[in-house]
Each structure stands twice: as structure tokens, then as C-alpha cells.
């Protein structure tokens, strides 16, 4: 269980235009590559001094690989990060303004307070 690593994936993909497109088009391939190559990179630290211990558990990896944002919410991924990245990937597919955002809310409508804990 690594909410931090889920957040790190969302954060590092969201800030990179090429990765946003790659994750949209090839989610499973991108998640596999990222976990192998980037999960242990410490931001602003060169590759010779990476972490050694970070990996997704199966549920986390599958949720990311299937763009399953309700599951990411359930797992405690930071909702701001999930929302921002998924708007970047999928808002373009909806004709109506806020069409994606409203569907997003609808797909989370089974959650009631208190929401899953997002503390890392």
C-alpha cells in the first residue's frame, strides 16, 4: 500500500506533456515503464542516488493501468492529482462543457463521507 507512490505517478506524469499523452494512449505500458524506471527516482537527484524500495501493490498497479479513477479514489490517491491528470487526458473527448467532470462525479457517487484517507 503506497499512496505516496500513486501520488508520485500522478504528479510526475501530469507535469510532463509527453507523458500525459503516452499515459492516455498506452496506460499499461506507461505504468510498467514508470514503475521500472521512474518510481525510485528521487526528484531533483541524479539517477546514481535513487531510492530502492518503492513499488506498487497489485491493486494500485491495476487501477493505474486501467485508468480506473474511482478505484484510485478508493485507494486514497490525492483527488486533486487524479482529477487534474484525468481532465488533461479525457476532457477533450466530451462535447459538452464539464461533460467529463460531471461523469467523473457520477462515477464516484457511491462514496459517502468520510472519504478514503489521503494522508501519505
Amino acid at each position: 500500500m503506497s499512496k505516496y507512490l500513486l501520488d508520485k505517478f500522478l504528479y510526475t506524469v501530469d507535469r510532463d506533456p509527453e507523458l500525459v499523452e503516452r499515459y492516455r494512449a498506452q496506460p499499461r505500458e506507461t505504468v510498467t515503464w514508470w514503475e521500472n524506471e521512474r518510481a525510485n527516482a528521487i526528484l531533483n537527484v541524479h539517477d546514481g542516488e535513487c531510492s530502492t524500495w518503492l513499488r506498487f501493490d497489485d491493486a494500485e498497479r491495476e487501477a493505474l493501468a486501467t485508468h480506473d479513477y474511482p478505484k484510485l479514489f478508493e485507494l486514497g490517491a490525492h483527488p486533486f492529482l487524479t482529477l487534474t491528470l484525468f481532465i488533461a487526458m479525457f476532457e477533450r473527448d466530451y462535447a459538452e462543457p464539464l461533460g467529463f467532470q460531471l461523469e467523473y462525479a457520477q462515477r464516484l457517487s457511491h462514496f459517502t463521507m468520510p472519504y478514503p484517507d489521503i494522508a501519505t
Binding site: Y11, L83, A88, M113, A119
Partner: protein, 288 residues
Amino acid sequence: MATVAAVIASTHHPFYLRASTATGEDRPPFADEWVAKITKFRETLTRANPDVLVLVGSDHFHQIWLDNMPQFLVGKAPFYDANWYNEEREFGLPRMFFKGQEDLSTHILRDGLDAGFDLAFSNELRIDHSVTCPMITLRPQADLPIVPVYTNIFAPPLPQPKRYVQLGQAIRELVESWPSDQRVAIIGTGHLSLELGGPRQFGPHGPDPEFDAKAVEWIANGDIEKALAEVSLDSLWLPGNATHGFLDFMLMMGAAGAGVKADYVDTLDLFHTMEAYFTWYPANGAGQ
């Protein structure tokens, strides 16, 4: 000593720029009313005739990340670049650039540390829409030097609400003790009830209009006591999962002073969230 020319608290709505500049079919029906309210709100800062702006906001996981998360951070740099790729992408915000008021940053850090706030600092800070939104609404010419102050309202564990109030009180005192003849406006932005990435997002109003009404009342009346009595880190999840942004309003209540009524109050009920605008003119500020 420096003069506090105005204390201003506002929501920061990243869609204002796009809504206010849209034309034809793209212009949302609420845009004209919104622009009219912002224009009046802007006048409250202009009237205060400030030389320097202290801008309180919260980084939205842009430069500040979970591997190195300060609770309260003061920018201390000669210049600040602003806005990020994902803010251009989602909100259409432009790249911006500000001059820093570095000697005021130095003063706030030194005397703030000595007053018991273990403030983090940054010598190279790219600021985000929590700071650029009020610049766009209140000072679009972006011609004044700034001191950005970031708070963590985003990544638990957070400091207790009373700590935000105390920091606001401290910032007010620190500005007033700055050996300078400059006129300083202290501007902070936060949120009323807000839901992001949850089932209540993007509704026809903010997720909790009842909370919003109470919150506006607390802020307008400077009722810190009541706000602190009703708000806790746990309770803020209830009005909406991003409502901890209200802690920056509590900070600004501290800066305005306990029991001090705002000289200017306005709100706008929008989809997704309620906008709220407050200005105080300290007695010695000669802002009116």
C-alpha cells in the same frame, strides 16, 4: 515603519481569466456579473495605493512535493516566475513574472523565526495560481514587488487551524515592524466549501452552501472565535474534500484582526464554488 495599506482575502478561481475574456458563444452567462464584481473588488486595492504586496497562497503540488513538504514557506528571491504547464493547459493561465521585495522577505523570515514560527524559505520559487489569480483580479498590471507566502492546505498532516490564524497575526505584526516607509497590502486567497476529484464536484453551487454562508459571516465580522470553535482539521472534510483551503481565509482573519469587520464584502454564487471577496482598511492605512 511600513504601513499596512489593506488586508484582502479572496477566493482564487483559476477560470476567471478565461471566463472574463471569452467572447461570443464561448462567453459564459455569468461572466459579465463576475467581471463587474471583480472590477469593484480591484478598486478596493487600487484605493489603498500599495507599494508592495504580501501574497498568501498554497502551492498545488507544483514546486512543492511530498518528498519535502514545508507547512509554511516564505519566498525570498529577487524575482518570481509564475504559472505552470498544467495551469496553462487546464485554465489558460499565462506565464507571468514578478519582482520580489527581498528585504521584506528577509525581515519576515528573521523576525518570524524569532517570534516562534519555524518558517521554511525558498530562494527560487515558481509560484502558481493561488498567487497569480489575485494578481490577475486585483492588480492585472502586476507591477508591484511581492513577497509570496505559501501554506500547506493540501497534504495532511496539516497544522491546526489556530496556527494559521496566529501566522496571519504574526504576518500583520511583521509587516508593521518592517523598517520602511512603504505601503504594504497583505492579500491571501483560499476557498470556501470546495470539492475536487470527488462525487460533489462541479455542482450548480459550492458543495455546502450552508457552510459558505457561515464562513462568509465569520470572515466579514472578523469572528475568529466562532470560526475556531466550529472548524477543525476533521470537520473541514465535511463541506467538501478541498475545503481545507478555508485555512488561508482563517490566516487572513488573523491578519485583519479579531473582531474587525471587513470594510468591503462581496460574494458570487457560481457553479462548483462560491466566490467571496473581503477588504479591510486598517485604521492607520489611510486606504479610504
